[in-house]
Amino acid sequence: MKTERSRMSRMSVSANSAFLMVLAAFLIVFPFFVSDYWIDVCVFWGINVLLGLSLNIIVGEVGLFNMGHTAFYAVGAYTAAILSQRFGINMWVLMLLSGVAAAIAGNVLTAPIMHLRGDYLLMVTVGLNEIIRITLINNPFGLTGGPNGLIVLDQFRVFGRVIQSPIDFYVLVWGCVALLLFALFRLQRSRIGRAWNYVREDAVAAESTGINTRWAKSLAFMIGAGIAGATGTIYATKMMVISPDSFTFAASVSLFAIVILGGTGSIPGVILASGAMMVLPELMRDFAQYRMLFFGLAMVLMMIFRPQGLWPSTRWSTRVKGGDAE
């Protein structure tokens, strides 16, 4: 039993690294063969990967149902846009600041609700998402520009080169993905990562082994929100205009779906699923009005035939969760 498990996890490690190598090879070769448009599709794919991975920390690692993740993303994007507009702070610094701002928001906003059981937490995060979006629309203190949103004029600079073209962003975004992947793999093997998984599998038992579950959950929200916030900066510079329309409940829902469709807790799963969510509708453009119909159908079929997700995580327990044995 024990040897079987360790063999399985070793297998999954090698499968993971094989996946990442294939992905890396693909990403390196891809831009040479396609138009800027497809590079741009991949930029948004990368942004969704960053967001998906950050949500995966909360949903996948700790098992907290968060269906309002774009709230934190919005906090990051708006922090960057406001500070850039008013103080002209360097974008790299802003990326850090917006990450911190979102992390603080993640902590402060979720601290009082951390004790809620799964579905209630889900509803509350939906509520937070709406609260933040509506607040942005209502333009408090003239900060957020209301429904028009804000213009972001400044851009990232690397040794004097302005990150501007699709390929620049491509390199920036996927570079960030690589860094994040490295950090996440380290995190998963760390004491914190193990603590998260204990909390997810059995919060009571985790508490009894001396893990502060509240702290573990808060930390996951902070890190997840922080990464989403930093991603918000990239998004703001890429779009050059941000408005509340980008941070809707529907956007949160599709992020949530990305994590589950990929295989909860699975890093390759998030990458694949966000790719599918981005690329499939693009490929189905010819179906025009029918494509969102097919897309909904695909989601249902996917869950029926592969409920564990595209690339299930071996670290997520195989135990049936809440379903009933017949």
């Binding site: 138009s35 800027d36 448009y37 497809w38 741009d40 599709v41 948004f44 629309i137 209502n138 209301g146 429904p147 028009n148 949103g149 213009i151 501007q164 699709p166 890429k238 779009m239 050059m240 205009v241 941000i242 408005s243 329309d245 980008s246 693009e282 453009r285 025009a288 009005q289 494509r291 969102m292």
Partner: protein, 381 residues
Amino acid sequence: MSGSRSARLLVSLALLALLSMAQFARAAEPIRIGLQAPITGPWAYEGEMARNSVQIVADEINKAGGLLGRPVEIVLGDDQGQPQQSALVAQRMISEKVVAVVGTYGSSVNDPAAAIYERNKLVNIAYGSTAESLTTHGRKYFFRTCFRDDRQGEFFANFAADTLKAKRIAIIHDNTTFGKGLAEAARRPILAQGKAEVVFYDAITPGERDFTAILGRMGRTNPDVVYFTGYYSEAGLIIRQMRTLGIKAPFVGGNAAVNDEFIKIAGIDIAKGALMTQEPLPTDLDYPESKAFVAEYVRRHGEAPSSPWPVYAADAFKVICAAIEATKSTNSDVLMNYLHNNLKDYPGITGPISFDAVGDREGAIYLAYEVFGEGDFRPRR
């Protein structure tokens, strides 16, 4: 020697033939013009009408022999009414090497696309995005065939104070880029002129259907006129719920409220007498272009377009084609310069079209429309 000479001649002749064939081939290659519109999503209906309208113009041009001897082709991009999709569609238009782009409908959706077109120096002409902010960023390649919110807001301010003799004005918007933009644009001149006061100013949430609470609160401020700057679907509900609550103040809608659906939702008894600030509708235009266009649209789709926006899309397309024809060029800078400087009073479907320095259309004409008992909008006399 002579053999080699004739061989050389033969080769050069063949080359010439090839070249001319290539020339011919290139001539037959279509000129591609983008249309960015919401084909799916909540504004799908507007997107569909825009596509229908542009198609009519394109077919007409192709029937008449195309542009510069080449056919025109529409490259459709569905932005779903979402900013991120809009950015992607913009990038796709650039990758598809379209000559210029028509679009899009919503202002906040248009903004990211316009930013990308600007960076890639691609002429883009919006057809439904009326937010002032779009032409305040100094973009050179952005134009629009529709008019700006502030012109309409100003028109309302004068109309309310001078024609309706209103002293107390209530303004309700819907917190969208467009609705709030127009509401702000109306409130500013009212405050500046000082002829009337704004007694109520609040927003509804689009997609909801019960506005009795906000209307009740508004009713207590005793407005002489109510200006709603959102869309027809909510406008229809608002006027009906106002009347149910016993608020008798005249209802004025913005140009997004002008739609047959408004009358259907409100009911003709209630809708009758409602006023709208509005550019002249295609059916009310006396230009021959408008009559021909509306006739063709009715022939194909059984009814006239129910909102003005698709016609602006058709005009945007026409203007692009006109610029290509006049400059014999598909170069973006040439087109941009032409549109800014040389296009004067081009006879569009919606009247003469010229652009000012920031890309806004010149010479806004607004009318107050009234809903008549027969269930149609007619200019108020």
